[in-house]
């Protein structure tokens, strides 16, 4: 069994065991088994870092075997510089989320923990799959645990949110399925993604494929104007669900652009890049403004996610090394930062049971340690140099300015809006005198919460101060991708 298979199946097997054997009466041992499962699943991804070869864009750790011979589908796994970090990121965030949900979840603990473990394995599968159908199976299967997470452990309006999440994203992915079957036939009976990369395609076909991919991936990212599901879902989802959704699930969409849209339909990608850039800029500027007026902390961070993911898609579609790399770095950074922001909100929500900004004020007086973490993550969210948030945004803006000054200028306004909505929220929630009895009675974070936030804080700072390991891994793959996208596939 290869390393990637281990990374995918270890958490899934732990999840299934928990589903089968876990009882609420033994919640304590269920939590520990879940934690052991998550940690083991993270540990098995570490040899990937040891063994990863820099300087090649070829797929590494490849595993290939027949799966469904009738359709020539292979169990084909592999990572390159683009997907590599997401495997580790997913496993890492999973550990953090399981620790973070330790006390917040008291009912059906085994199902909750199992959902997250299985979800984590499925998402690693999405990043590692090199077979179109295998990708689709993992991509779609993630909907089931997430639907249950939102619907069972969510807030008051959870049912609406769960359905909106499921049906909205399913609509997009069904078109992806049609596109995949089309490519299967076009390529003479192959679901191999790398074969599809080399497949010559006519201009109309490329456009149709591009928009079918767009339907699936733009909804997932989410890009403006199909982002409306995200705030609703974030508000209702439990803290852990929000963190995983923002940290990893949104990246599945952005990753799809890099793995499918751009290399399979390069001419259409160039033709429609203006549209993608336009939508990204709207997301960055307009959604940034929308975030400014939110009363609900989770909604604010949700809109901030949409704006940050706008940076990612902007970086992809300006077709420069620094832009695409910047986009990927931004994806990883946003994984840490948005996950951390949602966990911070979760810490407050567990104590006061309100997400309204207005219910708080002066939290720093009663929770100084926690406020320090929150400040760090808020700074990272608005892109302060020295934090993870800065690197990606700076690279994307640099790339955008090179491509077109005004585009860069518009993108750069996001730094102002980002600072505005994040810091204003920080000021209203944490600073000032103690606002009410609830805040007065707050107790500072315990060692468990300290651990989760510290793990993320280390990641955010490390990536901000020394991003080289992250960019080194992706350089060759990104350069190769761009070379591939620059060549026309029309015949």
């Amino acid at each position: 069994m290869g390393l990637l298979s281990l990374a995918i199946w270890t958490p899934i097997i732990f999840g299934v065991v928990l589903l089968a054997l876990g009882r609420d009466e033994q919640a304590r041992s269920v939590r520990w088994i879940a934690l052991i499962g998550a940690v083991v699943s993270f540990l098995v991804t570490l040899p990937l870092y040891e063994g990863f070869q820099l300087g090649t864009s070829a797929m590494q750790f490849v595993e290939k075997g027949p799966w469904i011979q009738r359709f020539n589908v292979n169990y084909h796994l592999g990572v390159d510089g683009i997907s590599f970090w997401f495997v580790l990121l997913t496993a890492f965030i999973n550990v953090v989320v399981i620790i973070a949900s330790w006390e917040a979840i008291t009912t059906r603990v085994n199902q909750y923990m199992a959902s997250f473990l299985i979800l984590s394995g499925l998402m690693i599968g999405v990043f590692a799959a090199l077979d179109g159908l295998l990708f689709y199976v993992f991509f779609e299967a993630t909907l089931i645990p997430m639907y249950l997470i939102i619907g069972i452990w969510g807030g008051p309006n959870k049912i609406y949110a769960a359905f909106k999440f499921f049906l909205y994203t399913l609509l997009g992915s069904l078109l992806l399925l049609v596109a995949l079957i089309f490519l299967y036939n076009k390529s003479g009976g192959s679901f191999d993604i790398l074969t599809w990369h080399k497949l010559p395609l006519g201009s109309t076909v490329q456009t149709l494929l591009f928009f079918a991919f767009f339907a699936a991936f733009a909804v997932k990212v989410p890009m403006w104007p199909v982002h409306t599901w995200l705030p609703d879902v974030h508000v209702e989802a439990p803290t852990g669900g929000s963190a995983v959704l923002a940290a990893i699930m949104l990246k599945l969409g952005a990753y799809g652009f890099l793995r499918f849209s751009m290399p399979i339909a390069p001419d259409a990608t160039h033709e429609w890049a203006w549209l993608m850039i336009g939508l990204s800029l709207i997301a960055v500027v307009y959604v940034g403004l929308v975030a400014l007026v939110q009363q609900d902390m989770k909604k604010l961070v949700a809109y901030s996610s949409v704006a940050h993911m706008g940076f990612v898609s902007l970086g992809f579609f300006i077709f420069s090394d620094i832009g695409v790399s910047g986009g990927i770095v931004q994806m990883i950074a946003h994984g840490f930062v948005s996950g951390a922001m949602f966990l911070c909100i979760g810490v407050l929500y567990d104590r006061v049971h309100s997400r309204e900004i207005a219910s708080y004020g002066g939290v720093v007086n009663t929770m100084p340690k926690f406020a320090a973490f929150a400040l760090l993550f808020a700074m990272a969210n608005c892109g302060l140099p020295g934090t993870a948030g800065f690197v990606g945004e700076w690279m994307v803006i640099l790339g955008a300015v090179k491509a077109n000054f005004w585009m860069g200028a518009a993108a750069a306004t996001a730094l102002i809006f980002g600072a505005a909505y994040t810091l204003w929220m920080f000021k209203r929630v944490y600073l000032g005198p103690v606002a009410n009895e609830d805040v007065k009675g707050l107790s500072d974070i315990n060692s468990r919460e300290f651990l989760t936030l510290a793990l993320l804080a280390i990641a955010v700072l490390y990536m901000g101060i020394y991003p080289k390991p992250f960019t080194d891994v992706m350089d060759t793959s990104v350069a190769d991708l761009l070379k591939h996208v620059a060549a026309s596939k029309l015949n």
């Binding site: 589903l19 027949p66 799966w67 469904i68 011979q69 009738r70 359709f71 059906r108 199902q111 159908l133 689709y136 199976v137 779609e140 299967a141 909907l143 089931i144 639907y147 249950l148 619907g151 069972i152 959870k158 049912i159 769960a162 359905f163 499921f166 049906l167 399913l170 609509l171 069904l174 078109l175 399925l177 049609v178 079957i181 089309f182 299967y184 036939n185």
Partner: protein, 500 residues
């Protein structure tokens, strides 16, 4: 004419017939209210028959018997094997349910089931218009009686009446169409009909006229729009055990008779019947999915869901011949076969849950009766959720591959109309996802009702079978390759021997 080889083709049928009579006689001496002896004897018979059919199918050979009146081929072998197994599962789920409802006063439940299965066998192995028709009648007559088994229950009796009247009409349609074709081609044998039509000596109008009636008759049996009216009423009205009896194994037979008649007999007319099937598929997908949204009764919802699933099945049957070219035939018909087998497997799970949740005096057939099932029994909720996600076509469950297999030949036909049909089907499965998800929502997100709070008691055998049933839906989703290959091999032996 009747040589030794002929008998080989019908050994399982003979065993079934003899045992059905024996069980009817033995049952006279059985006095226990749960009829354990009859039940075990029936299951043993079925197990023997299933093994026989599987060994025929594994042999992979095609025998014709009794002057080409019946055929024993891999497709028939597998379908009969699966039909037998699904009847076994139905009986295991259904016995406690039937006992609670006074349906086991006599042994008819078992005997009629065996005769229905015999009808299914004849439908699957018939290679002659009259044999096929006889099989169909044996199945439907047994089914009418089974639906009416609770004769003092008003809804069941009403359902039986509707089923009988409409079913008889459909049989009439089919028989009339077959007689037209007999008149035109001068033969009842499928191969001879095939060759007569392929020779283009027969008047086309007459053939198409007969074809319309045949297709209508088949559509009645499948439950495709616009011949679907009976299905919701019968599914809802019949006792759940019987609903599963007529909604499970007979679907395999309906698929087989479609292949025998439309493909083995009438493939030269494909261009005509494919259009009819296309319209029925669109109607079934549309009405089945939209009407299912409005249902609050779970059995009725599943009935409409069946209609929409039959729409998908028809999509598989109609994409075999493109522009007179049979290149797609193997992938399309094998996709349809895969679809119907996995559909039956999933239906067994869903109705099994409904039956096991029912108690004496309480039917548990409203969707709200499932509220909070996850808190009452995670196993049942899990199996039902797997069944629902599979019917919705979500990976990694087997329903996804069934839909994928059906869509692939449609898209590979490179015809715009077929591509649009595929897109339409895909959009309709989004609508479908909504009502399947609603069942999951009720089970997982809602709290149990007070009147449903007591623990669920189900016999151990039913529980074990249910767990296996759910696991199969999931495992076949993770490794669907074997069943797909089996379907492809079965269908290719038919497609390769067409007209010979």
């Amino acid at each position: 004419m009747i040589d030794k080889l002929s008998w080989i083709t019908v050994y399982p049928e003979i065993v079934l017939l003899i045992m059905a009579c024996v069980i009817a006689l033995v049952d006279l001496g059985v006095k226990t209210p749960h009829r354990t002896v009859t039940h075990v004897l029936t299951l043993l018979t079925l197990a023997v028959v299933a093994v026989m059919e599987a060994s025929y199918a594994l042999g992979g050979q095609t025998f014709y018997g009794f002057g080409n009146m019946v055929v024993s081929d891999p497709m028939g072998g597998w379908l009969k094997c699966f039909a037998t197994v699904s009847l076994m599962i139905t009986l295991v789920y259904g016995r406690p349910y039937a006992a609670d409802r006074d349906m086991l006063r006599g042994g008819e439940f078992f005997t009629l089931s065996l005769f229905a299965l015999l009808g299914i066998f004849v439908m699957i192995s018939g290679h002659n218009f009259l044999v096929l028709y006889m099989g169909l009648e044996l199945l439907t007559l047994s089914s009418y009686a089974l639906v009416a088994l609770r004769r003092d229950n008003a809804t069941a009796t009403e359902a039986a009446m509707k089923y009988f009247v409409l079913g008889a009409l459909a049989s009439g349609f089919l028989l009339y169409g077959l007689s037209m074709l007999y008149g035109a081609t001068g033969s009842l044998d499928l191969n001879e009909v095939f060759n007569a039509i392929a020779s283009r000596q027969v008047k086309h109008q007459v053939l198409v006229f007969g074809l319309v009636f045949i297709v209508s008759g088949l559509a009645f049996k499948l439950g495709a729009v616009p011949f679907h009216m009976w299905l919701p009423d019968v599914y809802q009205g019949a006792p759940t055990a019987i609903t599963l009896l007529i909604g499970g194994a007979p679907q395999l037979a309906a698929f087989a008779i479609c292949i025998r008649l439309l493909v083995e007999g009438l493939l030269p007319l494909a261009i005509d019947w494919q259009q009819m099937l296309a319209l029925m598929a669109i109607g079934s997908l549309l009405i089945g999915n939209l009407a299912a949204i409005a249902q609050s009764n779970l059995k009725r919802m599943l009935a409409f869901s069946t209609i929409s699933q039959m729409g998908f099945l028809l999509l598989g049957l109609l994409s075999g011949v493109v522009n007179g070219n049979q290149i797609n035939a193997e992938s399309a018909y094998s996709a349809a076969m895969f679809y119907v087998i996995t559909y039956v497997l999933t239906t067994l799970g869903a109705f099994g849950i409904i039956m096991l949740l029912a108690r004496a005096g309480h039917e548990s057939e409203e969707i709200t009766d499932l509220a909070g099932l996850n808190q009452r029994s995670p196993l049942y909720a899990g199996v039902m959720a797997i069944a629902m996600f599979s019917l919705a076509g979500l990976p990694p469950l087997v329903g996804f591959y069934a839909k994928l297999a059906v869509l692939q030949p449609l898209i590979s036909s490179q015809q715009t109309s077929y591509l649009l049909l595929a897109l339409f089907a895909v959009m309709m499965s989004l609508v479908g996802a909504f009502y399947y998800l609603r069942v999951v929502k009720v089970m997982y997100f809602d709290a149990p009702h007070a009147h449903n709070a007591q623990p669920i008691s189900a016999p151990a055998d039913a529980r074990v079978v249910l767990a296996i049933n759910g696991a199969l839906i999931l495992l076949l989703g993770i490794a669907p390759g074997g069943l797909m290959t089996l379907c492809t091999q079965s269908i290719s032996s038919i497609v390769n021997s067409l007209g010979s």
